[in-house]
């Protein structure tokens, strides 16, 4: 990757049920990492994520328990409506880091949400994060997608 060239992640979709999945990492947010380091405290090791890009979601989501593994505390309570739900329910939100491409980290709020797709997906990347990327291209005919920062 040269100077001025955006990181591009191109992935083949394994099957149509899987959707656009990116392997990423969940970490503490950068402000907390700096706070911990400045006090000589250990920064928790990032957790591997199998994240589905979900353009229908306007907020990122992680399965319950991941934030606790990073010793994160909830810093917001948000009204969340899931598919099939008739009303919004209050849920905790955690300020987390989504590490993409192995190099870029995005601090966002993510809510805890049961993700039961049965394919190991443990996070959803919503439009709040996608809005900070340059490009998301879903190429259904060629079973692939492209993300560009």
């Amino acid at each position: 990757m040269g100077w001025g060239v955006s990181p591009i992640y191109k992935e083949r979709i394994i099957n149509e049920n899987a959707g656009a999945i990116i392997y990423a990492e969940l970490s503490v947010n950068s402000a907390l990492a700096m706070h911990l380091m400045s006090r000589g405290l250990e920064v928790p090791t990032p957790i591997p994520l199998k994240a589905l890009i979900d353009t229908g979601a306007n907020l990122c989501a992680i399965v319950p328990g991941l934030a606790q593994r990073l010793n994160l505390l909830p810093h917001a309570r948000v009204a969340v409506m899931g598919i099939g739900e008739k009303k919004a329910n209050p849920r905790h939100a955690y300020y987390v880091g989504f590490n993409l491409f192995g190099t870029e980290s995005f601090d966002v709020y993510a809510t805890e949400f049961e993700i039961n797709f049965g394919n190991g997906v443990n996070a959803l990347i919503g439009r709040d994060l996608l809005n900070r990327l340059k490009l998301f291209c879903y190429d259904g005919k060629n079973d692939s997608f492209t993300l560009e920062i």
Partner: protein, 55 residues
């Protein structure tokens, strides 16, 4: 307050407003710096709380 601060972020601890910041990140930097890693609240200032759609 909402009119002047719409779109900014309120840092709240307990019942107290600690400060208003232009970005989420600046709110958290201030929160960890001034309060430590405690369950403070950071909330965007708007007339109504948004509903988020997930899944």
């Amino acid at each position: 307050m909402v009119k002047e601060a719409r779109g900014k972020y309120a840092l709240i601890y307990g019942e107290s407003l600690v400060g208003v910041f232009p970005s989420l990140k600046e709110s958290f930097v201030a929160g960890y710096s001034e309060l430590g890693n405690v369950p403070f609240l950071v909330k965007e200032i708007n007339e109504e709380d948004p509903i988020y759609f997930v899944g």
